[in-house]
Point group: C2
DNA sequence: CATCGCAGTGTTAACGCTCACACTGTTGCG
DNA sequence: CGCAACAGTGTGAGCGTTAACACTGCGATG
């Protein structure tokens, strides 16, 4: 205690410390506690080699001084950074946002900080800027949400020494040797298509959303099911992420009396298709059945409530975080298929007239 | 040029550098370019005091070596960190996600990195953890999305020396002296209410969403308008962020034949209210008119298309970034009201029967 | 009772960068 | 032609932390 008092009592050398008015550093804590700063560091990293009394006292001083560890310094000193950066095309689209939420949740409980970087398009400029941003040495790992070409391009352009994992479509990304995590949408798409066929529909149309490859897993599950059933495989209509393009595709389908069942690339697409059908005077599910993908929070409250595939994006995000943490820790790459999403049958599907 | 060549030619002191096998540092670049590391630093920070030829050569070496500046080291060395952390209650709710997108966009073009921290609730534990996380010295600024109590609590608990700005409801947060930015929703709520009144409705009911204060700006705009019009002010029904609670509120309204017009706290709420009305056999807008808030991307494609208030969350986010950048740069606090959002009249509102 | 081992602590040197300052050479001016 | 001014560059110190190692006692071991 004498040491402590002495340290506090003497103020003839106040000017020696740089600018102690600012946030206290580990050294200030050490001085106030009468120990070396290495001991404080040990307390912070709960090293076992610290006497219980010392630890308690240091903790007390930390509290009293309002000391907060400096992440940047820690990263510099250790060479490790407990940060993961999420590369994402758009934070407002449900699947992306929910995946981000899952990543953040897992990161938070694992003590990681999370960064976000939006890649607006798959243009070389956007992609290279994003790559540049995340390839900061000791910036930690990166999780690329590669549901689309922008993400996929970033993944391809990323230097091999940057630890990264991708959240992808089912099956992963061809030609990319990275850890990948995905939900098995192919299976779910097949289930959804079969559901429609079993209801008695002659065939099922499909409005596709953007995808990394030309053909999404959703689309291929749909196609395989139709082929296996020996029914005609209609031409695929492609929409963008914007609702309007889906509406346009929906309008084309609505004009075709042969169309009685539509598997939509996601719920937003289903919303727009349903609108187009409505405008054409065709009832859902009376005249046309529709199925979405994602199960956005409101889907159960639509009129009619939407039959859709529930995607557990939060689980996807959590798995991505676990994977990147493993990768940063030096474990080998892995490709993880999560449990297949399941079809939630509600009101938008019915037997054809 | 001779110096450069000489420096490149000589490799007898290759072992002097520590572990140059790893990512190159500023010193490796300097050595390879035959200049001091300070010169490289100057090039990186485009200081004007560098000869054009030197700069070009250094840039070339940087490119060749694949050098990437280390953000952590830079932050440590300068004491400044060009990172902003966004404190957010939920990344999947549209208003939050869109605001985040706006912040990120502005941050990206201003050269800031962005971090995300979710506060799951306004519980002391969650709040203090979030505060702890963002009060890292030299972690840069923080933008708190304070649409709810969780955000507001974080803001209140944040040490005064942490630079922060809040995206709030109209009017800002009482008792908090921080920079704040908001969209004037009060005005928009008044417009929406007036629209309904002008259509001939006796009064307008309101389903409120969570808000920082007990009474949201949306609610107070609604109330003021009803009072000014001298019509009865119905009891406010309160919903949470989840669609189900809004549905429950909607079910109560649907059961009341007096209800002919409802101003919903946001579009999700409107969706659920519309569903409840549908289940009760009441047509929208035939029997009941509804108005939402936010104008989510799909709102125009609902059946009926939703009359709602378009909130420019991206602009809100951009303004927040500008504000935090200013704050970090030492400029005084400011309270900014952005242009009031406007009502978009679509199909869900009509004169009462 | 000398020695080993280990709990507990301190010391030194990085980590990669920026800052403040010092230095060199050239230019411009009286 | 001497000196100030300045462009251009280098040097030294430090940012707050961790890692590696060195040291000090004390109890256990033979």
């Amino acid at each position: 205690m004498t040491d402590f008092d002495a340290a506090i009592g003497s103020d003839h050398d106040v000017e020696v410390t740089r600018r102690s008015s600012a946030t206290p550093s580990i050294r200030d804590v050490a001085a106030a506690a009468g120990v070396s700063y290495q001991t404080v560091s040990r307390v912070l990293n709960d090293s076992p080699r610290v006497n219980a009394d010392t630890r308690r006292h240091v903790l007390e001083v930390i509290e009293r001084l309002g000391y907060r560890p400096n992440r940047a310094a820690r990263a510099l000193g250790s060479g490790l950074s407990s940060t993961v950066t999420v590369v994402i095309a758009n934070t407002t689209l449900y699947g992306y946002a929910a995946t981000l939420q899952g990543i953040e949740e897992a990161a938070r409980s694992a003590g990681f900080a999370v960064g976000v970087r939006v890649v607006e398009s798959d243009s070389p400029v956007d992609v290279s800027h994003a790559v540049e941003h995340v390839s900061d040495p000791n910036a930690g790992g990166v999780v690329v949400i590669a549901f689309d070409t922008a993400g996929a391009e970033v993944l391809r352009a990323l230097p091999a020494d940057v630890p990264a994992v991708a959240a992808t479509e089912a099956g992963g990304l061809a030609g990319v040797s990275r850890s990948m995590v995905f939900l098995d949408e192919r299976q779910a798409a097949a289930d959804a298509t079969r559901h429609l066929l079993e209801l008695g529909h002659r065939t099922v149309h499909h409005v596709a959303i953007p995808s990394e490859s030309g053909t999404s897993a959703r689309q291929s599950g749909w196609r395989a099911t139709l082929e296996a059933a020996g029914v005609p495989v209609p031409e695929v209509l492609t929409a963008g992420w914007d609702v309007r393009s889906a509406y346009l595709a929906g309008a084309r389908l609505a004009a075709d009396p042969e169309v009685t069942a539509v598997l939509c690339g996601n719920d937003d697409t289903a919303l727009a298709v349903r609108r187009a059908l409505y405008e054409a005077g065709r009832d859902v599910p009376g005249d046309v059945s529709i199925i979405g993908f994602d199960d956005v929070p409101g889907a159960a409250y639509w009129t009619p409530a939407l039959t859709t595939v529930r995607m557990d994006f939060a689980a996807l995000g959590r798995a991505c975080l676990a994977a990147i943490a493993a990768e940063v820790a030096g474990e080998p790459r892995q490709v993880i298929a999560l449990a297949p999403p399941s079809l939630v049958v509600r009101e938008s599907t019915a037997p054809p007239r």
